[in-house]
Structures are given as C-alpha cells and as structure tokens.
C-alpha cells in the first residue's frame, strides 16, 4: 500500500526481499547501500543476531528521483529467512507494494527455495494479497558458485507464471540493481493503474 503525500509531494512504496535463510537478501541491501550516493539513501538498519543473521528485518530507505513533481521514495525491507521466524516474516509483509524473491541457486537449497516461495504465497494471502497479482520479480542469486543449479531447472520449479527474473551474484553487485529497477518499475506501473 503506497503512501501518496500531496503535502510534501512524495510517494512512498515498500519493497520486501523474501527468500530462504542465507540466500543473500541482506547482501542485496548492503550492496545497494554501499553503492548509492549519499543524498539518495537514508541509514540502513539491520536488526540482526550476534552472528549477523537477520532477526527481524533490514531497512533501507532510497529515493529515486522525481516523477511529475513527486519525489519517489522506496523503503526496502528484508525478512528473516530462517524457517522459525515465520511470525516476524508475516509482520514485515504488511503494506507491501512489491516483492523480490531471492532464490539461492545452489542445488542443495532447492527444497528451501520451494518451501520459501510457498511460505511467501501463504503469508501474503493472510494479509489479503495474491502473489500472482502484486508486483513480483525473482532473483537467482549465487550464480557464480560451482554447485549452482541450471537456470532452466530453477525457472521450472520457482517461476511457473514467468514473472521477470534476474541472475545475480549479490556480493559483487551483479544483477542487484537490475532486480531493484525491475521491481520499482512494476510498482510504479501498478500505481498508474490506481487502486
């Protein structure tokens, strides 16, 4: 649910990075944070455990420039990926405008990816959203690893509807901005349709 502020001429949208534990959601945000100029970003907040596993969420506010005199601001959130943090994941999906699913390409993580996509669908439903109707893109992360599954196989398993997808190596930034741009565009296109 985007927030249009006519008074400050701003539009705020919420993007959530979803995916199984250790798939690279936080790494996506860290790369964006490290490579965005100072004026365009706010402070990145990570609520993580001592071992740097996300406990509640990461948060990064970004402004992308103006459209028709309105400042566009995107609030990027990640969810904790580990299975037992489901209650927290549900909360973060509240008011979401678009979802990026970060899949871990490693063949051993196939089950975890499938489980996480199903969990995403269920949790969205609980908030009254339909994954097939909201802006949604998939990022296949860790493409540089030797044990990465073939793209075609991942597509068959995780992307039956054929939503936009991107290959990525998040620590190096490959595919990170492409993914962000894609979801931002889908959200703005959705806004044009109105609600």
């Amino acid at each position: 649910m985007s927030f249009i502020n006519y008074s400050s001429r701003e539009i705020n949208c919420k993007i959530v990075y979803y995916g199984p534990g250790l798939c690279g959601k936080t790494t996506n945000l860290q790369f964006i944070y490290a490579n965005t100029n100072q004026q365009a970003k706010g402070k990145m907040i990570s609520l993580a455990t001592e071992t740097e596993r996300t406990l509640f969420f990461d948060f990064l506010p970004l402004s992308l420039g103006e459209i028709r005199g309105f400042k566009t601001r995107f609030h990027l959130y990640t969810v904790p990926g580990q299975v037992f943090y489901d209650a927290s994941r549900k909360l973060i999906l509240k008011g979401v405008d678009g979802v990026v699913f970060v899949a871990d390409s490693q063949i051993e993580r196939t089950e975890a990816n499938i489980e996480s996509v199903e969990n995403l669908r269920t949790n969205l439903q609980e908030q009254g959203y339909d994954l097939d109707k909201i802006p949604y893109v998939i990022q296949y992360n860790k493409r540089d690893l030797p044990n990465a599954a073939p793209l075609e196989e991942l597509q068959n398993l995780l992307n039956p509807k054929g939503v936009p997808y991107y290959e990525a190596v998040a620590p190096k930034g490959e595919g990170v901005y492409e993914t962000l741009k894609a979801i931002a565009k889908l959200i703005l296109t959705e806004l044009r349709k109105g609600t």
Partner: protein, 160 residues
C-alpha cells in the same frame, strides 16, 4: 490490494501538524510524530533536525507490529499504548483509531501522566481528521496523480 491507499492532502496535513504541535506544547514534549502502520512517516514536529525520522518511523511500525503479534498470541486485539523509559528520554507510543501510530518523545521536563492525558485528547482530534481523510480518498474520481504517467517517465527515473 488490501486496504485503501494511504493518501495525504495539504489541508489535512496542516490540521494534523497543528494538532501535533499543540500536543507537543501542552505535553512539554521534545518531539511528536505520526507514522502509519506500514512505517511511513506522516508528520513530525519538534527538535527533529538531528534525528533520523525515517528510521524512527520504520522501527516504530516494526515495534507496533511485533507487540501486536504478541498481543494476538495472548488473546488481546492489540496493545494500544507502549511506553519505553530511558535514562534521559522516554518514548510514549499509542495507536490511533487502529491505523496510525502517535509517538511522543519527552524527558524529565514532562511526565508520563501529563503525556498520557494530552495524548488522549489529541488522539480524538486526529481520529476525526483521519476519518475525514479516509472518506475523501474513497470518493471515486479522487484519482492517483500517477494515472497519467508514461513509460518514459518511469524509464527516466532510472537513466543515470
């Protein structure tokens, strides 16, 4: 999409800011701000220059969401008031009309009792303003300013 789109107009924004400013004055608060439940900052008044209000808004909403989750687990609808006591500054957080969050930051120049009293009065006023706002948004034809944007507008945003 679930729930109506959150929209803020200049008229309501002025009214809301006025209520927040009066609350800040009457409660002897340092800062008063309003956040929607999704973590977007609606208004802030007081000494906010050196404060990261965007992060505060997001964490406040996270806090309310988490305590709301706790409330449901023990069979409560929500906890409508939260209070965090610090060494110098304190946070008073309350939910207004189930949809927006009012945060008051105050120090020893005020007291919890005074803040609670003033917040209660301000909440009623804010609730009325938001009721009106919601009705206004639901009127058909109150279209999005983005209805007219083109693919080029969107592409331009990403051309660096």
């Amino acid at each position: 999409m679930s729930g109506p789109q959150m929209v803020m107009y200049d008229e309501e924004f002025q009214q809301i800011s006025a209520v927040c400013e009066r609350l800040s004055r009457e409660a002897n608060a340092k800062i008063v701000f309003l956040v929607d439940k999704n973590g977007q900052l609606i208004a802030s008044v007081g000494a906010t220059e050196n404060l990261d209000t965007t992060s505060l808004a997001s964490l406040t909403a996270g806090n309310i969401a988490a305590t709301g989750g706790l409330a449901k687990l023990i069979g409560e609808k929500e906890f409508s008031i939260l209070f965090h006591e610090g060494e110098k500054d304190n946070l008073h957080i309350s939910i207004i009309g189930g949809r927006v969050i009012l945060v008051v930051i105050f120090d020893s120049r005020s007291s919890l009792g005074l803040v609670r009293l003033r917040v209660k009065k301000a909440s009623d006023e804010l609730n009325k303003i938001f009721d009106g706002l919601m009705k206004k948004v639901q009127v058909p034809g109150a279209g999005s300013p983005f209805a007219e944007i083109t693919d080029d507008d969107i592409d331009n945003l990403f051309s660096e």
